[in-house]
Symmetry: C2
Subunit: 424 residues, 2 copies
Amino acid sequence: MSFEDLWPGLLPVGRARGGGYRRFSWTEADRECRAWFAQEAVRRGLTLERDRNGNLVAWWDTSADGDSGAPGDEGRADDGRRPDLLDDVGGGRRDAVLTGSHLDSVPDGGAYDGPLGVVSALAAIDLMRERGVTPSRPLGVAVFTEEEGARFGVACLGSRLMTGAIDPDRARGLRDGDGVSWADAIAAEGYDPGAIGPDPAFLGRVGCFVELHVEQGRVLDAPVGVGSAIWPHGRWRFDFTGQGNHAGTTLLGDRRDPMLPFARTVLAAREAAERYDAVATMGKVRVTPNGVNAIPSEVRAWLDTRAPDDAAVRATVAAIAAVAEEAAGWHGVDVGLSEESYTEVVDFHVDLRDRLVKTLGGAPVLPTGAGHDAGILSAHVPTAMLFVRNPTGVSHAPEEYAEPADCRAGAEALAAVLTDLACR
Amino acid sequence: MSFEDLWPGLLPVGRARGGGYRRFSWTEADRECRAWFAQEAVRRGLTLERDRNGNLVAWWDTSADGDSGAPGDEGRADDGRRPDLLDDVGGGRRDAVLTGSHLDSVPDGGAYDGPLGVVSALAAIDLMRERGVTPSRPLGVAVFTEEEGARFGVACLGSRLMTGAIDPDRARGLRDGDGVSWADAIAAEGYDPGAIGPDPAFLGRVGCFVELHVEQGRVLDAPVGVGSAIWPHGRWRFDFTGQGNHAGTTLLGDRRDPMLPFARTVLAAREAAERYDAVATMGKVRVTPNGVNAIPSEVRAWLDTRAPDDAAVRATVAAIAAVAEEAAGWHGVDVGLSEESYTEVVDFHVDLRDRLVKTLGGAPVLPTGAGHDAGILSAHVPTAMLFVRNPTGVSHAPEEYAEPADCRAGAEALAAVLTDLACR
């Protein structure tokens, strides 16, 4: 099947009236996405593996031993060191080639962020078969769970669990907006919450990981590019605490209105980002009590900051925090700042990156400001990314788009890369 | 019973863990408040009247005809003109004296805003009886419904319906946050939604209305004051529409982030209020999609503005709107402004005000920036207000407070005023 034949099967799933997607982990939309993936795997004779952490992998295994299933026994446990590309480690075999991405979405997200990587992987397998390519290494298509962190708040949760980048106890206790824990949510789907956590046996089988993803900015001006790095990025929370009061009767001089230093901080984020060549966004805010005629008692707001290097991120956040404190002081408001997460710069595997560029006969190399499962896996497995052009740069919104011709080019590029990597 | 004996019966009802009150119309807390009021009315031999609009009145009627119930037949329909104080209109009797306030609350509101007027009215009746005072006019204690507009969005809904200040069709269609309509909510309580609307027969019986209320600013520096006016006030909604996008990958120059002009508008509201001696508050905001890693697609925010005169309100709003439009333009964001409500200045009845001051042997006279049912009724009935000192000026918040001695002084003042008005 071609890319165009595959794409429509997934398009209607979890689509809200406004055109955006709400594919949150372990909801009905997520179940439909997983069912679609399982059906497409079966149709191709791939073997579906459901790991302990909620991730799925469909294996095309044509290895000499004739086992068409997952490459289970011959793997060697991940020993924590960053291995060389597709190496043979002490007689064990770290030889599988992994691709794939995720199917979950942000609230009212676009169609491409995640699914494009999964659909392109299946389309690439179809292209390889049409051309008579038979891989000599196991080739897996992964669907990582809760990549967006839209329901439980931690991005790349599935790959973090697999690699040990998050403590299983913390993951079990993560709660969605209704108070449902990750443990309860996966138990309801038949998983054992006690069994989640690092999976060195799986990682030990993987020789490399290549994730294809729609570009999320407007940097890429070619159909397909190769990723060089993921910018360091983090989330910070500001808690502005003032005095709730009546909007009509409280004189200006008597006010301790936390909305005012919050507003000043929003503007400071933009100013600091410009100064340090970073990006800084305050896109989430929670006001208490959030009444028209009530001066708020508290404004809680989140800051997302990213930049090419750690120093720029730190300088940006420090500049914003200084303004927040000063403005809070002016208005008699208390302010607290806490770092909710921080991810250092990820440099993708240089040899693998160069090999992709060579296979594609040359391609633009670009970094990204977005986090990906590839960023998590890269600490354990040689990892690379392919980006498909985004003509408007819109992402995490219903208008997210990629031209069909660029999507076809992405699937072709992935087929070429997988052919190179999976055929000895 | 004294003020102190009455107060504890109401204190626990609808109180949230944080100490604030959530007494929203037609919820369990509201039912408990109404049951408490009915019980206190019965205990005093008052006759409880439930009007068509969800308001309650407990009548102490010792008129010559021996009817201890509500003064129903002898009234004359309200003819729309603002009558003189306690006049006899064309042979009919517009002779009842009405007091009272409301029992509903804003989200996490204080204990005093509303209930103080109801409790003080009952305490005043007890004081009058202790002193052997027998009114020669019917004396009613009113509990108006949905004064805060916290559940259905329109403040003073009960008194607006009674006076025809809101179209019954609009009221029936008002919806709470869960989509429940006013019509359905009152039908579930046994009211006929088709029967709501202007009640000239009721208004035609009322000679004057005196509402006691906790002061909501820090203007009053005596135990009890008399109201002169309610500032003109209104609510405006700003709709900032940008382009939702990825917080990590969208370059600053590609952004159309509606949070930025919103923030500038919050600061402009404070600046304009200072310039025009007004108050302006942006206490409610709704961000779409409100995700940490998403540039918002839309920010909807509400502005509450009040000032001593209409011109100052209009100038303040115009100045804020100009900044909003300019800032939106800078950021490629569209902005819409709509006036959701506007209430012109209310000057309370001058003769009644002076009579109260005289009865109290002198008292500070002050305006208020807060809306009240008294402001709605004043277009139809001679109306006055008594304010009880608020030592910190905090209102619409759990910390709202009045000293017990000041509350006692308020009940004494109300008893004196009602004795003067209700005894020919």
